[in-house]
């Protein structure tokens, strides 16, 4: 019997609100299945299960806000004998009852959940997010006062009919993202303050010649339909993944007073949300993917992140992060490590600059790379090797 718990989706997350169960009691589940949607400061996140088995019991109902670590469901593991009591609220007899472990004690007084557990249907929540209706102001007409779709729809109609002076300043058509940007700003601030407080950062910078990569990309894309084209970001993701595989002190987590190297390379790719905020979900096993696959994953992530739909493992899995200013921005960026990771690589905006080729000065596209890394896991000498290695790989794009 396994407990499925409210996961921690970031250094700063204390609680989450269950928005939707996607599986019911008796449903079989397997590793990687999305079984619930949880609302956090980073938006609605799809939560995956890590066991194979059958849902025995759901312990938390939709709308409830519970601390990280709280058991949400019991899952009878696939190896265990089937018990007749599917749906019953008790554990199978031969197994020692799993105690419903309360959330681990936290420093400081345990604050009560900041808002009452409002019952809201998923459809109502989505409509509220799309129309910008504050769901707390909507009177519910569903079972036990639950706010259902039609309630939000009516509220939206009333808002539309209201005199313009009372209408919100946002244009009526603008769909909100379903992400509370103020809450996200708080989450980013919490994680970054912790990073700056706890992690002894050091920084290394290096300028990479982007001539070969730019020419290779132009040649490669010239013969491809748009859906098959690559962008520079995909090359940088792959170069970073290969480089940290060779220098493992930059790939992994610093936890419980020691560095745990990652046995796989999951590159978190920082994606800016339109309107502000960012998240850095993982491209799993980026070192082993071909460039076309990296590109496909990158496009998929950008689309899903901006739609406010991504998975719990994508937020917690990155073993190293890449932040990339893209082709419209500033020359360089000095990043801050996202704990518990130990390194973050930043790429500035490529720009044409004077560059020496032999004794001649030529115009060349160059890329400013920067590394922030954790001195508890590595030193500047190795950090310099990492950036030099990334630059070398970008100079030989056919090998990526």
């Amino acid at each position: 019997m396994a407990e499925f718990r409210m996961p921690s989706l970031g250094a700063d997350m204390e609680a989450g609100t269950l928005v939707e169960w996607l599986k019911q009691v008796g449903d079989p589940v397997k590793h990687g299945d999305v079984i619930a949607v949880v609302e956090t400061q980073k938006g609605a996140i799809e939560i995956e299960v890590f066991e194979d088995g059958v849902i025995e019991n759901l312990l938390v109902s939709v709308g409830q806000t519970v601390p990280v670590g709280t058991a949400l469901a019991f899952i009878r593991s696939a190896g265990a004998l089937a018990t007749p009591a599917v749906g019953a609220a008790k554990v199978p007899p031969r197994v020692a009852p799993s105690p419903v472990v309360p959330a681990p004690p936290r420093a400081g007084p345990a604050a009560p959940a900041p808002f009452a557990a409002l019952k809201i249907s998923p459809a109502a929540r989505r409509l509220a997010a799309d129309t910008g209706i504050d769901i707390g102001t909507v009177q519910g007409s569903g079972p036990e006062g639950a706010v259902v779709f039609v309630d939000v729809e009516n509220a939206w109609r009333r808002m539309q009919a209201a005199p313009p002076a009372k209408a919100p300043p946002a244009p009526a058509k603008a769909p909100a993202k379903g992400i509370d940007l103020a809450a996200m700003r708080g989450a980013i601030a919490g994680a970054m303050a912790r990073s700056k407080r706890e992690i002894p950062h050091y920084y290394v910078q290096h300028m990479a010649d982007l001539g070969p990569a730019t020419e290779w990309l132009a040649r490669t894309n010239a013969n491809r339909p748009p859906e098959g084209r690559l962008v520079l970001a995909a090359l940088i993701v792959k170069a970073v993944a290969l480089a940290v595989r060779g220098l493992p002190e930059f790939n992994g987590f610093y936890r419980d007073g020691r560095f745990e190297p990652g046995d796989r390379v999951h590159v978190g790719s920082a994606i800016a949300l339109r309107g502000g905020g960012l998240v850095a979900p993982a491209i799993h096993d980026a070192d082993r993917l071909g460039l076309d696959d990296v590109m496909a994953k990158l496009r998929d992530l950008v689309n899903r992140v901006r739609a406010g739909r991504y998975r719990s493992s994508e937020l917690t899995d990155p073993t190293v992060t890449l932040t990339n200013l893209g082709d419209r921005g500033a020359d360089a960026l000095l990043p801050i490590i996202n704990p518990p990771q130990v390194a973050i690589v930043a790429a500035g905006t490529p720009a044409r600059r004077p560059w020496l080729v032999g004794e001649a000065i030529v115009a060349r596209p160059v890329l400013q790379l920067a590394l922030a890394a954790d001195h508890r896991a590595s030193d500047g000498h190795r950090g310099a090797m990492l950036l030099a290695d990334i630059a070398r790989r970008l100079a030989e794009p056919a090998g990526l």
Partner: protein, 83 residues
């Protein structure tokens, strides 16, 4: 397809990548990517969508020719029907 119809299609597809802006408020001659803060992946999504909707495959070399609304409409109008 008239220029107005083409403009509507273009606005819908721009709306899909920059949902919070009204393309009608963007000047005809300003740089779309600058004005709407469109990154390279979103721009590629727009090019993919234009191919699906209009059958026009804009090669990378022609990206500068669809930099503004006016330029994009001129370019797409000329390319439609010629593949």
């Amino acid at each position: 397809m008239t220029r107005d119809e083409l403009k509507r299609v273009l606005f819908v597809e721009i709306g899909n990548i920059a949902p919070e802006v009204d393309p009608a408020t963007v000047g005809d001659d300003v740089d779309l990517r600058e004005a709407l803060d469109i990154d390279s992946i979103s721009f590629l999504n727009l090019v993919i969508a234009l191919k699906a909707r209009l059958g026009v495959d804009v090669p990378e070399l022609d990206y500068p020719k669809i930099r503004t609304l006016r330029a994009a409409l001129d370019y797409l109008a000329a390319r439609i029907g010629r593949g």
